[in-house]
Symmetry: D2
Subunit: 365 residues, 4 copies
């Protein structure tokens, strides 16, 4: 099979190129870039020198020669390429935000500043959070909107709690997350200039990050009703990884009410015991998922244990009163949060082994 | 004046040595260490080579020769030295947890595993969060319990909101915080082994960190009543700094109720306007504080802007519905979170200029 | 085939476990550890949780069940295990220094403080620098001494120059190298404590590092005669990678003598032209090597372009007078510098595809 | 006294602003910037928020109001400002390369691509390597060319060896150096984009860095005759610091000739003894220098021990044959390598205490 990547020179494009170059079903790769047309890919990414021999081509040519096309462009540019793929009858897996909102063009426009140009394209697109929409993906949709990095992490972290309806009605869920700097993309800018992020930790876009509506939508789908959320992204001085700390207030009867309002003592055994129950709920929920690992007691999720891999690691905790569930979820933002999940989507759509090219065992260090 | 430091070879001890070596009122420094007695301080910290000529002495000798003594020992060891200072009639400023709980030995014992040996020592000790207890510190207490790093950051971040009683009754305040690795001290251990923290982000002691009761107590004092909190510490791959993200649910009538449950659009102007009001409330509250900087709109607090300094930077945000206040507070965990605040305490107790030796202008990079 | 790893809980052991877990010819893995016998490997390396289900066993049991054994122990412990493998008739690939000096027990003893206990074992061992000794490795030796990380990098960097006899007789070759912190192993110690290596660069063991005699020996073999070297290792604040900067004074007639003793101007075109010749010499020399990449003009070797992979990247430069060749060579110290090369050795010894399990495409970021 | 800084928004300008804001003799600071004229300095560097209240002004206005002016502009722009200062009769301390070459406009032009526009300005300028030219600086020159970061570090490291004429005639001295990323300045660019320098080590401009002629010139002045050098800069993933590893071949009779060509054993005691002699030579040479620390045996220079300070730490080593001196020199590239030395120059020129505002004690972590 032949795969094409449009926008191959960005970080997500380069990462999907890297993953696909080891995919047993992909025999040829076509790399598209308007800006670097005609250049060797390895002249831009010398880590591919001698291992990937490919010239950058126009997106049009890439689409023409491919059996599946990945979009790795900035937001707002995907529709024409999606259209072209639909016309050629091949799947288009888009890594921008353009196909993440299904038919809800209003939300997309409010947050991304641009209306849908071709609303009909969005009627049959599928949101590619693999674990959530596997069945719809198996039905071979023509357009797949690959999820954002933060929404992937937050949604996998909250899903079992939402699906099991254990959250208190009417209360907000808080997602406090930290990301590595690759999340900011390849274009140099002050915020990602080495001396200004190295050895520092900060929040950004507090209360107004564009991934907020996508998380809210996923939660709504998962719980079956709308719920307010708060999402606060942070920037950590590392290359890859997202850690989400998710605070889920439990509904009465579900957690404990061991209120020790003055924190007179550490969490009781009852809290530890209750924690175990929620861990089991999660473990069972994800028992058949190849890429979700619910960690045993004593471990907190950490980004280095998933670095480079398609895993989402989840650890389960309770606050000291036993009434708020604290879920930690860790992914590699470039893999499960972008290119890896895109390949997982392709594997599902084409009926390949879902983990093909995604078996990388993370290394810790 | 002559100052002594007991436990000078730990990170907090070395940092206070560094700060005091530039203090205009301190003419002599005595450094105490049981383990390294007789060694040159600069043989342990070669960064002091040729600039500080001091031999490590027994704690007893240090106390005997000093006009003020700083304790920089592990938790659980401070009482005998406090006793000795009290007997000599000189102030003892303790950087361990041993004098942070006033007379509440029960909470201390439950969290630190050890009862007070000399409860009477705790009757007149003062908790040294300078901005909060300045008046009591001016009354020249003999024992000062220097606050923990996380409690300093969280408490300064929440104080105006608590004092102004704008938080919703009965709701939890969440403190989600990330610290640099110096917070783990000088002793090598796996969790702080370079290859296992570099380029990674993780949570630890979720729901059970020992700073929880200290934060809860401070909040209670500040608000005038007890309130449940959740405190989640994280480890960031950097040397210094704590960033706390504090979620304060606002009481009705205080914030907005611009609920956009599906996050259909970015925060409205009304939210931005309300945000400005809270920022002003904070700015006014801290108007006279030399070391607290409430940041202007558009800035999120970041650890690199306070690195090496005694500042606490605070930025004020609202969630998109305008009903939860999100406060970001940043400090250098080794300075305002430990040694700097200890010196600030000394300055207050002795009536020196409060910023003496603490005027370091942070460098950003 | 079944593979065993002795000392599986160290970094090199964990890395070889990781690589072998994706090796198509290895059907079973046995992990040996005296200290952690009986424990789950994933309890020590949680990055393997749910993906590698293996209990640590005694080394003896591991040897008994395996068709090939990898030694990943500290220096000085390998001989008995080598003996046991020889007796069972299976290859032992040792990653310590114990089998790197062939029959030269005197040098080994002088640098590692311990004589050979069983000199006869060293008679038929082969030094496993794959590119150098491929033919001898194909003859199925029973014991392979896997090279040190620095010697691998320096030797591959210098080999073409040495083999082509272009270095000035009687002059020293200087190898100035920087390594990531994983090179120091898994045991926490002050030098590798995060706060004391982060954001810092230093040299260590200047003039006396144990890899010096191994490099000198390799150079002697490669050039056909002994030559003085200077080797200076440095520690860089990163996890993985070695960059060697190798200064090779050229013999008369071989380089240029464009001496501009006052550096009045930048290197001339003649120097650039000469540089190109040496680059071609190197490219030709390594034309058939899968894992050595001689970089095109304009690129300097960098560790991030080989991170996680078995590549050795080499770039070729000249000083401004054209009379000293400056070779930059970069490897991942844990892969080509340790576990990857050990697997490459196994692949050669057993006649597998030499790059089996070593096809990882590095990611740059 | 009033000080002005032209180009205050670059890293060197911001650093000198930071240092001068604590200088007891400087009562007022004027900050110049053509690009940001009229803006608050703290809006560009929020680390100065509430601590430095200054608006950026035109360079012309800054010069008009100041008693001393610091140039912190990109290379090639300093002459007109130098001219203006000369005309006003105030000293101009330039941190660009424009006044580092005295009257040698030819070398400057060859390396920086631009001839001197006003050669006469260069007749009386003084190269501000403080330790070398202190006497000439005391004579109150009007123009001071502040040295480059690498040349400062390399020159202080090599000076005693050069002055004592212990280097072998006709042999090259090699300077292999690594710098932190602040050396690349404030403008974001790919090479300094966080994800592409983090966790990586590389060389750059091998054989052709512009600091080469400046180092060669300094060595010539120090030794009294010209000598070939090789200078190879590297980029380390850290904010601040330069470590130079300097290889100085010793002339016959000066070092040892304990050649152990096969490195059969570690360096002998004779080598250690000889090393001690050179260390003493260095210590004596720099005995009166406040900012140069020759380290005791057992220590290798490291950048974290000088971070933030004006120190140059030097450690002395020999290769195993005792015939090449290996000097390690460490500075903070932004302080002793730029802004700190500029202030030191001002202190000397005006007869202030040379360490005024430069007493910062580095912190190790």
């Amino acid at each position: 099979m032949k795969a094409g990547i449009i926008g191959a020179t960005g970080y997500a494009g380069a990462e999907i190129t890297r993953i696909l170059s080891a995919h047993s079903k992909i025999k040829e790769l076509f790399l598209g870039s308007s800006s670097f047309k005609g250049e060797d890919f390895a002249s831009i990414y010398p880590n591919f020198y001698k291992t990937l021999n490919a010239k950058l081509e126009t997106p049009e040519l890439v689409i023409e020669k491919s059996d599946v096309v990945f979009g790795a462009l900035p937001n707002g540019l995907a529709e024409p390429f999606a259209r072209a793929c639909v016309e050629r009858g091949i799947p288009f897996i888009d890594m921008s935000a353009d196909f993440r909102f299904d038919e809800d063009g209003a939300t997309y426009e409010a947050w991304y500043g641009k209306p849908y140009s071709e609303p009909e394209l969005h009627k049959n697109s599928v949101y590619g959070l693999c674990e959530l929409n596997r069945e719809r993906l198996r039905a071979s949709p023509r357009i797949i909107g690959n999820p954002g990095c933060y929404p992937t992490c937050a949604s996998l972290g909250a899903w079992p709690a939402l699906a099991k309806a254990i959250a208190a009605a009417g209360e907000k869920i808080i997602i406090d997350a930290a990301s590595g700097v690759t999340g900011g993309g390849r274009e140099p800018q002050r915020s990602f200039h080495f001396p200004e992020c190295n050895d520092s930790f900060s929040a950004y876009k507090t209360g107004s990050h564009r991934h907020t509506p996508e998380i809210a939508r996923n939660f709504r789908v998962m719980e079956g009703k709308a719920r307010e959320i708060i999402f606060t992204p942070h920037l950590a001085p590392m290359n890859r990884g997202i850690l989400s700390t998710i605070y889920i207030p439990l509904k009465s009867g579900c957690g404990l009410s061991a209120v020790d309002i003055n924190c007179v003592r550490p969490p009781s055994n009852a809290v530890k015991e209750k924690e175990r129950e929620f861990r089991e709920l999660y473990a069972e929920f994800y028992a058949k998922e190849r890429f979700v690992r619910v960690l045993p007691p004593g471990l907190c999720a950490a980004t280095n244990r998933v670095r480079g891999s398609n895993y989402c690691d989840i650890s389960i905790h309770l606050d000291q009163s036993g009434s708020t569930l604290i879920v930690l979820a860790a992914i590699d933002n470039m893999v499960k949060g972008a290119a890896g999940q895109a390949v997982q989507n392709m594997n599902i759509v084409f009926g390949f082994n879902e983990s093909e090219a995604l078996n990388y065992q993370p290394a810790l260090f």
